[in-house]
Each structure stands twice: as structure tokens, then as C-alpha cells.
Amino acid sequence: VTAVLGEFLGPAGEHIAAAVCFRGELPYHAQCGVVRQVDRLLATLSRYLGDLPLPDPFYPARDPQRSAASRAAPARLALGRAARSLRPVIAGAADADTGDAHPVVGHLAAAAGYLAAGRDLLQTHFADGPAGPQAPRSYWAPVIASGPVTAALLGEIADDTQHLASWIGRLPVRWRMSPSMPTSPLLVLRQAEPWLQLAVTAIHTARCEHHPAPASGLLYAIPVNAPPPRPLSATDEAVADLCARIPVTAERLRHATLHYATRAYRSPPPTSLSWRRDALACAIADHASELILRTLAERAGHASLEPPFAARLHTVADYMAQAWKAWRSVTGQWDIVTTGAPRGTGLTTVAAEIGDLALEAGRLAYRNPDWTPACSDAAVVRDPADLAQSPGGVIAVLAAVHQAADAVSRVAATDQEAVITAAADNRLYVPVRLLSDKYDIPHPYTLAPPTYTQALLTAYDTTVQTASSVTTALDDLAAAIGAPSSLLAATRQARAPAWPQPRQLHDQEQAPQPPLVGAAPGRTEQALRELQIRDPALLLRAAVIDQAARDLVSEAKARADSRSTVTVRTSLLTPVARQIPGLPARTARQDAPRAPQRLRADQAAATTTTPSAASGQNREARAASVSPHSVRASRPPST
């Protein structure tokens, strides 16, 4: 079972709620323990805030980025000041008994642990790398960074902080100091309370200013970024078992497609064997899914479900029929086209596992629980009452089909992109023996003639479009009946940016942000303190001003450093350039107008966003680079 964020945020909130229910008198050691655990909680909550992709108020056009610490500055500064006020007790209780056995301390410690684990879970979806800091590394990453999920997380943080602040405000403070402790822990907690209230206000302000309605359900459903274990092969499985198995297989395939898409640049390219296997399995899975949907439609008429539901099932089945026919067309193209040799690079993870999905879909569609593609296992389709005994059964089966279709659509998009690249790289061939006699080539393979390449790419275009139609229709249907797979639809919707995202401002790269919590008071705040100002709201405003000044100077310094580096490079290059024969010609070539075909290819490559959105452009541009005259001149991949 894959862990989800709700398994951490939920218990964290429950433990905080349990702790703040305590109305009795805390023993001294428990007071120290409370301070220590509140400190842990504040540090973790501050880290959550630091991760959020909040828009920059001064540069709204800039893409919100994770770890842009200054975005949540007021709330983080407030939490930091609250934590600072706890330090005398933290320092004094470092080696002392901190009353961990007390229930309140235990609840707070558990809450801090759950919250930290939840943040670790979120961090699995991002990583620093060549693409930049905190780059997405899962298909959930855009969902996590989306407005609705950010709003929901802000709400969780605000609620937890509010509970703590309210409870601290109600704690009975005794002014009698302990003989061994110069400062009462509860008194220290009381000093933190106004800062916590200010943090809550700042969080609510950020949420109201920048974010749409929160998606708490989606927030709680965020899984850890790790593929679930591959289900063990089984026989004679019931419908319910298959409905539970298919989402696991689909999730593994989703991970595998992303892993393939983000694989290392220098890793060996996949071969047509993998794409052929993918197309075969997807065709079979979609064919079986069409049968399932039609059986469900028949069942829906007898299962107290609304008549329009059956009609919608038939409509989705029609889309599914188009999808498997498109895949069938792809397999027909791969009958002839190949990447040739070498063939030893092995199957991709998707190709190695996608047969599972075909097998599971087939077993759900047909009456034989041990169905395989072999003729000996062929069977008639399941009886409608056997497939879904109740309306709940209809929903469960529909969810399984939805999960399978979603995985298949991702495979379609990933393979299409890979095949476009293979065509652009002149890695598609045909066996010479299958060509007519006019191709007198003494090699087993020759470069695929453009008609073959074009037909293959067109087949993939159709496949991606039909797969997209299927997922869209199933998204709507699953959401309408509240199927568990409606989460897939929600993730697709949440990924839409919550704020306008114009072009990336490359010249405004982020400077490294100094830590906020530990920052010493700046000039403005210091000036207020010298004026004996103790109002936390005024002090926080001063701290925000100081922090903004630090960020501004830091960013300006980064820009200045960048400018001086460019200047040095230019000055180093100029004398050398004069000495290299031919370089001026190369330089001049940059100003010459490019060939229209090449220009189109460059533009298409630059504007490509998603395979489904720009696949046509991309394909034409890249296929244009495959010369029709290169067939005879090309070398075979191997002899």
C-alpha cells in the first residue's frame, strides 16, 4: 500500500487537537517538553511554508517556484520569531528531563514527527538537478505545486498554528519560577503566542491573495513518489481482485513512463521491440476495455443506475473502440518498420510490464479467469451480472477501466515522443527483403522510406488523440459517479496553473535565499527595539522590510556577478576569435537567414509543450529532417 500525505497530515492534526484539549496543570518537566516539541513543530511548519510555490508580489509575471523562501516571508518570519522566543528554555533544557512521558508532550512530539514525515513525502516529488533546484520528478509534482493544493496546504498549516496559538493563550501561567530554572517555560510560550497569531494571519492573507478554492482531498491523496510493488501473478482471480490489481499495474506504468521520459541523455535509446510490445498490449487492453464498458452499460440498465449513465458508458465504449483501432494501426506499422540492430538493449520497463495490464483487462472482460491471448484460453465475455453485482460493483469496474486507460494514454504520449525522436535521428529502418526489387541494397536493413515513417507517425498521432478522448470521457464519467479513480481527473484539472504564467523571466534568476528563521534582527527591527517597541505586529513588519532588503541586495549581487562573468568571458574570447581562421565566417552565418525548413523545425522544437498539444507540429518538423534521398546512401545499423 502506497503511503499518502493524508496519513501524515491527518494524524498530525489529531495529535495537535488531542494535545490542546489538555486543561490541567503541566508539571515543570512537561512544560519544558512542551516548549521543545512546539519548537520542533514551528521549525517543520516553517519548512513547509518555505517549500510553497507562492507568487512573487513584486514580479507577478515570474513563475512561482518551490523553495522561494522570500515568498512566505511574513509567516516564516513570525514563526521564526516565535521559535526565537522559546530558545532560553530550549537551551536550558538541553540535557534535562523534558517530560516526554507526559501525554501532552507525547501528542506534540507525535504531531511533529508526522508533519516532518509528511514533508519528506512531498520532497520525494522534487529534486535538485540539471533542470534546476526542486525540479519536478513525478507526475504528481505539478499537482503539488498547483494553486488548489497549495491553498489546501496553507490551510492545514494555518489550522495547526492556530490551534497551538489558541491553546498557548489559554494556558495558566504561574509566575513562580522554579529554583533550577530562571525562566518559566509557560511564560516563554506565552511570549511566542502573539507571533503565532501573526503567522496565522499572514498565512491566511497569502492564501486569500493568491489561491483558488483549496483541494484538501487532493492534498491528502498525494502519494509518496515510489512505484508500488509489482503484483505477484495469480490465477482464478475474482472481479474485485482484478479491480484492485489494475490500479497498481497502472500506477507502476505511470512511474515507468516518467522514468523513461526523464532518463539520462546518454542512456541507450530504446528499440522498436519495446514500442511494438507497448502497442500490442495497449491494443489488447483497450479492446478488452471496450467489451467491459459495453457489458457495464448493459448491467447499468438493470442496476438502478440512471439511464443516461448507460448511454454515457456506450459513448465511452465508442471512444475506446477508436482507441484500440488506432493502436492496431500502430502495430501494423511496426510489422514493417524497425529500429534494426542492435537489438540487445532490452525492453524498457514499460514494455516489460505492460503485458500485465493486457492480461488483467482481458481477465476482467472475459469469462475465463485464467484468460491469456492464446486461442486455447479464448472465452466469451462475462455475464453483466457476473461483472458487476451491484451499483458499487459497476463503479469499481469503471474505476479499473479508467485507471488502465489513463496509463495507456501516458504510454501513447511517451512512445509517440520517442518515435518522433527516432525518426528525426534516422533510426527507423525496414528490412530490405520486404521492399520491392528496385531496392538493390546488400544489407539486411535500409532507412525507412518517408512514406513509412510518415504513416507510423500519423498512426501515433491518431493514437494519442483517441487515448486523450477516452481519458477525458472517463474523467467526466468517474467524477459524475464519484468513482475512486476520479482522483485522476482531479489531478489533471489541478495541474492547470492557478495564476497566469507568461514567459519565463530568465534574467531574473533566483539568488540563493538566506535562512529566515535564524536571521538576526535587521536595521529596521533593531531601530524599533531601540525605541522600546514591543508590539509584535510592528516588529514583524520591520522584520519583513529587513528581509525584503536582504533579498533585494542578494538578487542584485547575483545579477552583478553574472554580468561580470559574461564580461570576463567576452574579453577572453575576443582576441582568440580574431586568431581562429574561419570563425568570422561562422559568426556571419549566424546572421544569414536560415533555410525555411530548418527554421520551421527550430521553431517547432522551441514551441513544443506537450506531445498531445504540439505533436503534429513537432512531428512535421522533425520528419522534415529525414531526407527522402538518404535511403540508398544510408548505412544499415548492422550487417
Binding site: A374, V432, R433, S638
Partner: protein, 144 residues
């Protein structure tokens, strides 16, 4: 142009009569192509056998691809693969015929592998024989 479904040719007879490695390789290549075309022709006729014929065509491509890389595969002689089964056969009969052809093909390729001196020929024959066995398993007992 890829060869269209040509007129009748006796692919089984060619396989039986093949007496050398080169002849088995050439006949095997054409047999796989005949199996592929027959499977593609039948895949849409009975929904219950859609997966069987689709997978059979895929296995036939595997076998043909393996033989394509055999160093001793002679150039195409122009005869083409011919038909694997008689025109007008129902899908069940096609499946039975393909199972029989694939069984023979697997045997002949196994024999050819024992004749091969070159490692490339041997590997190609063995890999193609496995593909033929898969076709045989997929097509056996073809009554839906």
C-alpha cells in the same frame, strides 16, 4: 513497396524441402511473413480471437526480425511468402493451420541451428525457433 498478399505458394513444402541452412533461413523468413499476414487478416474477424491473432502477428515479426540478422540469409529470390492457409478458411481453421505451420517451422529452425557454423546464424535460428513455438502455443486449439 512491401509485398502484397501474393498468389498461393506452398510454404510448408518449401520448408520441408529445404536442405541447407540458407534454404531454411529463406523459407523461414517467408513462413514468418506468411504467418504475420494471415494473422493480420484474421484479427478482426472474431472478437474473442483478437488478442490471439494480434499476438501471433507480433511473434511472427519477432521471428522474421531474428532471421533478418542471420549472416547466411540469402537475398530475396522474388517468390514472396505465399499464403499460409487456403483462402476462405474460417478463423478456427486458420489458427489450426498456423499452429501446424509454426510447429514445423520451429522444428526446421532447430535443425538449422544445429547446422550453423556462424554464431550469428545459430543465434538467429534459435531466437526464431522460440518465436515459432510461441506462435504454435498461441494458435493451438483455435476453436473459440
Amino acid at each position: 513497396m512491401v509485398s502484397e498478399m501474393p498468389g498461393a505458394s506452398n510454404i510448408e513444402a518449401r520448408l520441408e524441402q529445404a536442405a541447407s541452412l540458407r534454404e531454411v533461413l529463406a523459407a523461414g523468413f517467408d513462413a514468418f511473413e506468411a504467418i504475420r499476414m494471415a494473422a493480420r487478416d484474421c484479427q478482426n474477424r472474431v472478437p474473442a480471437l483478437f488478442a490471439a491473432f494480434m499476438t501471433t502477428a507480433d511473434a511472427a515479426v519477432d521471428g522474421r526480425e531474428a532471421l533478418t540478422l542471420a549472416p547466411s540469409l540469402p537475398p530475396a529470390a522474388g517468390a514472396g511468402p505465399g499464403e499460409a492457409v487456403a483462402a476462405g478458411a474460417d478463423p478456427g481453421q486458420v489458427a489450426d493451420a498456423l499452429a501446424a505451420l509454426a510447429g514445423m517451422l520451429g522444428d526446421r529452425l532447430g535443425w538449422a541451428a544445429s547446422l550453423a557454423d556462424l554464431a550469428g546464424d545459430r543465434a538467429a535460428c534459435q531466437e526464431a525457433a522460440q518465436a515459432a513455438m510461441r506462435v504454435c502455443q498461441l494458435m493451438a486449439h483455435g476453436d473459440p
